[in-house]
């Protein structure tokens, strides 16, 4: 085989750049479950896989040394050394990624590793913070906002937890949108678990599995820890706003001159001209210093911030000044609310001075209130206008400064309704009260008929925010969508009453109506405050307490009908009743559960829809919590991203890498660590060192928190299995117990290099197709199809395009989603040749056999390599091996070794196609015992290997192979082929055993026949002996000689 020799530089050029977030993405799934044992396996696994790939790429038979040394009880030092091409400096920062990211998945080629999808959500998901603010997750992540979030404790109480880390990850093509009866909505990656309650009780369920039978948890209220700090209004001004306070400015300037000697000194200290200072000292209303200048001066003079604020209450530009309050006050918030509701800020027009701010409402009380507010806050008189065409009346005033302030609070000028959004520093319970009240005064309404309070708005973003604001007051609401309008509805006595007491209306008519409906309402709870799936517990409780049916507080509940929800009061009375009946020191588990549910901080709302949708934004986001494993997002409790190798790696110790890229050059020694602020790796040391006796190679030293254990899922087992399927590998492993294990090489032949192929049309998914269309070099659709896919000839391309109803010359970058979908369907319907299979590299039957013989001590071995087959357009090859007998335990289930692209799989055997393939094979016919569809029992090791350009794993953690019928069928065929040979051997062996027993019978009993005859016939000893010898000869003649020697495959 002609191997082109590559060197490290070549490889570096080829290496796809791997973002650090991708690295995290991968890690957290591999290690994300707080399993230190897994961490050890994963790290070594990725290092070994990577070394194997690297050595194979340059055509060297791999030799890998691994040393695991315990540093302390929970900490290990791992050293992995290979004879690969080494790593060049530019590649070093990517070592973490490379460590866990060996493959190039954009080209279809069977190498080790595969991409995955994270546990994440869309960027606009709103996260309530502990201090009452509500922010989109994108802002939290991108600004690394170190904040507290709401976390649900096991007792169903909300508490606060710290964020541990932030995730920004390339988005998967598909996401899941979940909607609830309460109008809550969240978009998540399909794997992101959400807290649900269903017939089985509580559980974390992956978004893609959530159905209408589930109820999800939304928070009942948001406790806030308000920082009592006041917000200075001056902070809301732009920096170039001028401050009109001559005495204060004079005082400042004089103090500065004292400090720096002369005006010139002052001028040099700050970049201001002397004539500017002089201008400020004159009594010219147009010459006033800017806010920025005053800030600098006060800071320099160490004048308190309070004094600064106190003196900046008259502000403006170009000689026009208005008064402003010192701090954001309830009145200011009400003003903000009124403008948010019925106000309008004129879009800035350069040719005009000033900006008109108007308030449109037909209620006189509100109009007067607005007028008074403006006067009180800014000392501006506004004037009343009537719309020329009788569309109502308004108060209007003009101030660009106020407009600026409003803009900085989140209310934009011009068409504001689909944009306004309250800035987070204003999202405090004390400030929200007047704001919401004003908002409701403007846009709210009371329905006497339905007994609800509703609020209509077209702003989708804002309505979710308002829903969360209301939650801070413990008011649970739901969102209703009616055509383009969104309506947030508060129903049930409890919530409406809370609304009246906490917020209410100043609008006199509505305030009255509110009182009327509160008095008229009997039911305390809204339909979203039902408690689902507790009947079972209640029925159990009743049985335990053996209370007569009549005495039970709500006997109608116990009827097992289809309704699985009960309302809050009923549960309350039931729980209270039970509390009186039981020993409170040891209450029954069911009662504890019900009590928790009753007093919890979450309500359970029905899922109304859960659907997968195509997602085309670039990134998704997530958080990892330091305390707890969940947080509130859009009011819904979702699982966080678990901690990762990142955390493991931050044991504080840098990662050490020694690399030698050429026998002529010196080796390099690097130390690397991750800058936790930027999530970026950093080289902190780079030295030239000697590495004698080494041509090329890489040595990596990592210290991490892990656990060492032996057994089925251990690192020992992983390495052993790796040695089986990589017969060309020489592996030396020194385990933490200081035992060195050698896995010798059994062949010098490197596995055949896989050929790269383009994706096959049958295996493509919509999201990927759209991305390919956008990024392709081939502009015309037909050439795109022919060049970007395998097995698409001109004729096939024409057929596809005809079916999709598209022109061959259509621009591929202009293909719309719907058209892309048509192309996808057309491809599936067109008959296309199977992909070439030379892109799949089997281990080969011979080497599977050798590997098995080397590592499994048995008496019979068999292996088989199936011809290539195809699933969903991906070619794959199944190989099976069986070892039988010897020292293998006979009374246990068979041991199964699973491999995908020569990587051992150690977890989730139950979900794996391999297990399915084995259990669906009838092993009884091959002489093993097997009960039902279980793994057979016997002294057997079964090896199954799938080689494919794309191994379909069930989840991103790459632990189980998805159960495609084509794959299972191939596995079964391979197993049957091995099984037949095994059966033959076992039968032969059994026959031999029976024969041996029979032969011993002859030895045992023949003398007694002779004795019997001798006694009866009084024979002589010689005659007796003759009987024995004759009989023995005659009997043994009749027996077959069974030769158990198995043909040795070399």
């Amino acid at each position: 085989m002609a191997q082109t020799r590559l060197n490290a530089e070549d490889l570096a050029k080829e290496q796809r750049s791997i973002s650090i977030s991708e690295f995290f993405l991968k890690n957290k799934h591999l290690l994300g479950f707080d399993n230190p044992r897994k961490a050890l396996v994963t790290t070594i696994k990725e290092a070994v896989d990577n070394s194997l790939d690297a050595t194979e790429q340059i055509g060297v038979t791999p030799e890998i040394k691994i040393k695991v040394t315990p540093v302390s009880a929970k900490r290990f030092k791992i050293v992995v050394e290979d004879n690969g091409p080494g790593i060049v400096r530019e590649q070093i920062p990517k070592i973490f990624a490379k460590l866990l990211y060996g493959s190039k998945f954009d080209k279809l080629k069977s190498t080790r590793g595969q991409q995955g999808i994270g546990i994440c959500m869309t960027p606009d998901t709103l996260i309530p913070l502990g201090d009452g603010k509500i922010l989109p997750i994108k802002e939290i992540v991108e600004n690394n906002l170190d904040n507290d979030l709401f976390v649900l404790a096991p007792d169903l109480k909300l508490g606060l937890g710290r964020i541990d880390r932030f995730w920004k990850i390339p988005a998967p093509p598909e996401m899941v949108k979940i909607k609830t009866l309460g109008g809550n909505e969240i978009k998540l990656t399909p794997e992101n678990p959400v807290l649900v309650r269903n017939a089985e009780g509580f559980s974390w369920k992956e978004a893609k599995e959530i159905t209408k039978e589930d109820y999800i948890a939304i928070s009942r209220k948001l406790g806030t820890n308000i920082k009592e700090e006041k917000i200075p209004l001056v902070d809301l001004l732009n920096k170039d706003t001028r401050i009109d306070n001559k005495p204060f400015v004079d005082d400042l300037l004089l103090k500065l001159r004292d400090k720096y000697g002369t005006w010139k000194g002052v001028s040099e200290r700050f970049p201001i001209r002397v004539d500017q200072i002089k201008g400020w000292r004159k009594n010219n209303i147009r010459r006033r210093p800017k806010k920025r200048d005053i800030e600098l001066f006060t800071k320099d003079l160490e004048i308190s911030r309070k004094e600064f604020i106190d003196n900046c209450t008259r502000v403006g530009r170009l000689g026009n000044y208005i008064n402003i309050p010192k701090y954001v006050s309830p009145e200011f918030m009400r003003f903000l609310g009124l403008i948010s509701g019925d106000g309008h800020i004129q879009a800035p027009i350069k040719t005009r001075w000033g900006t008109n701010i108007s308030f449109w409402n037909n209620d006189d009380k509100l109009q007067n209130g607005f007028k008074n507010l403006v006067k009180k806050l800014f000392n501006i008189d506004s004037s009343l206008f009537y719309h020329s065409k009788g569309r109502g009346k308004m108060h209007q005033f003009s101030s660009s400064l106020v407009a600026e302030i409003l803009n900085n609070c989140g209310i934009p000028s011009g068409k504001k309704h689909d944009k306004f959004y309250l800035k987070e520093f204003l999202q405090r319970k004390d400030l929200l009260r007047p704001y919401l009240q004003a908002l409701y005064d403007c846009e709210g309404s009371v329905s006497l008929e339905r007994k609800t309070v509703s609020f209509m708005i077209r702003n989708k973003k804002m309505i979710k925010q308002i829903q969360l604001f209301l939650l801070q007051f413990g008011i649970i609401s739901r969102i209703n969508k009616a055509s383009s309008d969104l309506r947030i509805i508060i129903s049930s006595k409890k919530n409406v009453k809370k609304f009246r007491d906490e917020i209410g209306f100043t609008h006199s008519k509505r305030a009255n109506e509110l009182n009327v409906i509160v008095d008229a309402m009997k039911k305390e709870n809204s339909k979203i405050e039902k408690i689902p799936f507790v009947k079972k517990q209640i029925i159990k409780l009743k049985q335990q307490l053996s209370v007569p049916h009549k005495e039970w507080p709500s006997p109608h509940l116990l009827v097992d009908n289809k309704r699985h929800t009960i309302n809050f009061e009923t549960l309350q009375s039931t729980v209270n009743f039970c509390m009186g009946k039981v020993n409170l020191k040891r209450p029954p588990l069911e009662l504890q559960e019900l009590y928790c549910i009753l007093n919890s901080d979450v309500v359970w709302v029905e899922v109304t829809s859960s659907e997968i949708f195509q997602y085309n934004k670039k990134f998704v986001y997530d958080l990892t919590m330091k305390d707890g494993n969940n947080f509130l997002a859009n009011g819904i409790l979702v699982h966080n991203s678990a901690s990762s190798l990142y955390a493991q790696l931050t044991t504080g110790k840098p990662t050490k890498i020694t690399s030698k890229t050429s026998s002529r050059k010196k080796a390099h020694y690097f130390e690397l660590h991750i800058d936790t602020k930027n999530n970026e790796p950093e080289i902190i040391k780079d030295l030239e060192v000697d590495w004698p006796d080494k041509k090329t190679g890489t040595k990596i030293e990592i210290e991490l928190e892990a656990a060492y254990q032996k057994g089925q899922r251990s690192i020992d087992e992983y390495l052993k299995q790796t040695a089986i399927v990589n017969p060309h590998l020489y592996l030396i492993y020194r385990n933490p117990e200081k035992k060195t294990i050698h896995y010798p090489r059994v062949t010098n032949k490197l596995p055949k290099e896989a050929k790269e192929i383009k994706p096959h049309p049958y295996g493509i998914e919509l999201g990927i197709l759209i991305r390919m269309l956008k990024e392709s070099k081939h502009k015309k659709l037909k050439s795109f199809l022919m060049k970007e896919f395998c097995r698409v000839s001109s004729r096939v391309a024409d057929q596809i395009l005809e079916k999709a109803n598209l022109e061959p010359n259509a621009l591929s970058s202009r293909i719309a989603r719907q058209q892309a979908d048509n192309v996808l369907h057309a491809m599936r319907e067109t008959k296309i040749m199977s992909p070439p299979s030379d892109c799949v590299v089997p281990i080969t039957q011979k080497l599977v056999l050798k590997g098995l013989k080397k590592e499994v001590d048995a008496e019979f071995y068999e292996a088989i390599t199936r011809p290539p087959a195809v699933y969903r357009g991906y070619p794959f090859i199944i190989e099976a091996g069986i070892a039988y007998g010897g020292n293998l335990p006979a009374d246990q289930q068979v041991r199964v070794l699973r491999f995908a692209n020569r990587v051992p799989l150690q977890y989730q055997p139950g979900a794996c196609a391999v297990t399915k393939g084995i259990t669906s094979t009838n092993w009884r016919q091959y002489g093993l015992s097997q009960s039902g569809k279980n793994l057979p029992i016997g002294p057997v090791v079964i090896l199954l290997h799938i080689a494919s350009v794309w191994v379909p794993f069930t989840s991103e953690s790459k632990e189980a192979i998805a159960q495609y019928p084509e794959i299972i069928k191939e596995m079964r065929l391979a197993l049957q082929e091995c099984g037949r040979k095994l059966g033959k051997y076992i039968r032969k062996k059994k026959r031999a055993q029976v024969e041996a027993k029979h032969k011993s019978y002859i030895q045992k009993y023949l003398p007694h026949i002779a004795i019997g005859l001798k006694e009866i016939l009084t024979l002589k000893d010689t005659q007796e002996k003759r009987i024995i010898t004759t009989l023995k000869k005659d009997l043994e003649k009749t027996r077959p000689n069974i030769n158990l020697d198995v043909k040795d495959v070399k």
Partner: protein, 361 residues
């Protein structure tokens, strides 16, 4: 007779020996002992062997039993030659000295003994082997003439002189002689019923001989009744529970012998016995309290209808058993006590004895 058995044994052994020397496979031949290989002729009155035989050729698979059979034959010859006897249990213990060929459990040695017995068409007493089991008990108007084991003089045993006890039938009954004026023999299944009849002197009032079988009658018991009834020419009535076991196992074995001992049934059965009760008809007539038939009972009854040549050749029995299955119940002898403890003496037995139509063959 004794001479003949040892001759037979020697003949068999010589046969085997010569075959071995000629390099031919030695064989042991014996009749198949099961209900499938017996026929019933009402005139003869007992189960008779049909021709089916089994051959045991010496192969690797049969070498163990072959050796054991030969050693058993050798033992029998020794015992007969020395005019000794050995119980079945003793034989089992003797085999413990045979090293590899020893028996692990007594049933194994019993089976081999039965094989030898059938092979030579003799009964085991002729082989010098005797059972442990007791033969049955007798009370009533009978004088048994036996010989004193020491002096060899005749002694007369009066079976009315045992008070509330009874005379035990010895293991070997061939040498016994009888004197009696009794009108019939009543053979009873359970010791309990026997006790009641003895206690109330029923044999005196009815002038009969009472025999308790205690379940399935032993060979000695059967032989005793046969000799008694034939030499004294008196009828025999069986009084057993009304259930498939009582009919197909106890009564049938008494009357015509068993499949297992088919080669010797000729001597060990009582062809002129009659089934007095309790018949299925009696259950109806006397309104007896009943128990439900168990599954095993039903299986046994159906099996008897299908496979038992005796039942099959008697319409009356077929009808009776079919009736029993249909009623789905069984009744014990003691069920008569439901009408008073002595109802059986005062009413049932006299009525039944008078009415010969109520008997079954």
């Amino acid at each position: 007779m004794a001479k003949k058995v040892t001759d037979q044994i020697e003949e068999q052994a010589r046969n085997i020996y010569s075959k071995i020397l000629k390099h031919r496979k030695p064989k042991l031949k014996s009749p198949i002992r099961s209900l499938q290989n017996v026929s019933y002729d009402e005139k003869k009155g007992y189960f008779e062997l049909q021709g089916k035989t089994k051959e045991r050729t010496l192969t690797v698979n049969t070498v163990k039993t072959f050796a054991q059979t030969l050693r058993m034959m050798s033992l029998s010859k020794q015992v007969v030659d020395t005019n000794d006897i050995a119980t079945k249990r003793e034989v089992y213990y003797v085999s413990k000295n045979w090293e590899d060929a020893k028996f692990n459990e007594q049933p194994e040695s019993d089976t081999v003994m039965d094989d030898v017995e059938a092979m030579l068409m003799v009964n085991r007493e002729q082989l010098g082997f005797i059972p442990e089991e007791k033969g049955g008990e007798i009370a009533g108007e009978l004088i048994v003439i036996d010989k004193d084991p020491n002096s060899g003089e005749d002694i007369e045993i009066d079976c009315t002189k045992f008070g509330s006890g009874a005379y035990s039938i010895p293991i070997s009954v061939e040498q016994l002689k009888f004197k009696t004026k009794a009108k019939f023999v009543l053979v009873i299944e359970t010791a309990g019923m026997f006790q009641r009849l003895v206690k109330h002197g029923y044999y005196k009032t009815a002038n009969c001989i009472l025999i308790s079988m205690g379940g399935v009658p032993t060979r000695a018991c059967r032989r005793f009744i046969r000799r008694l009834s034939e030499s004294m020419k008196i009828p025999v009535f069986a009084f057993v529970d009304c259930d498939p076991y009582g009919v197909s196992s106890i009564y049938r074995t008494l009357k015509v012998g068993s499949g297992n001992a088919a080669h010797i049934n000729k001597y060990f059965c009582v062809p002129n016995a009659k089934f007095l009760g309790v018949t299925p008809e009696d259950i109806v007539k006397y309104k007896l309290p009943t128990h439900k038939l168990k599954d095993v009972d039903i299986k046994r009854a159906k099996d008897a209808l299908k496979n038992d040549p005796f039942i099959r050749s008697h319409k009356e029995w077929k009808r009776a058993i079919e009736q029993l299955i249909k009623m789905g119940v069984r009744a014990e002898q003691q069920a008569l006590a439901a009408w008073g403890l002595n109802y059986v003496i005062d009413k049932y037995l006299p009525e039944k004895l008078k009415n010969s139509k109520s008997w079954l063959p």
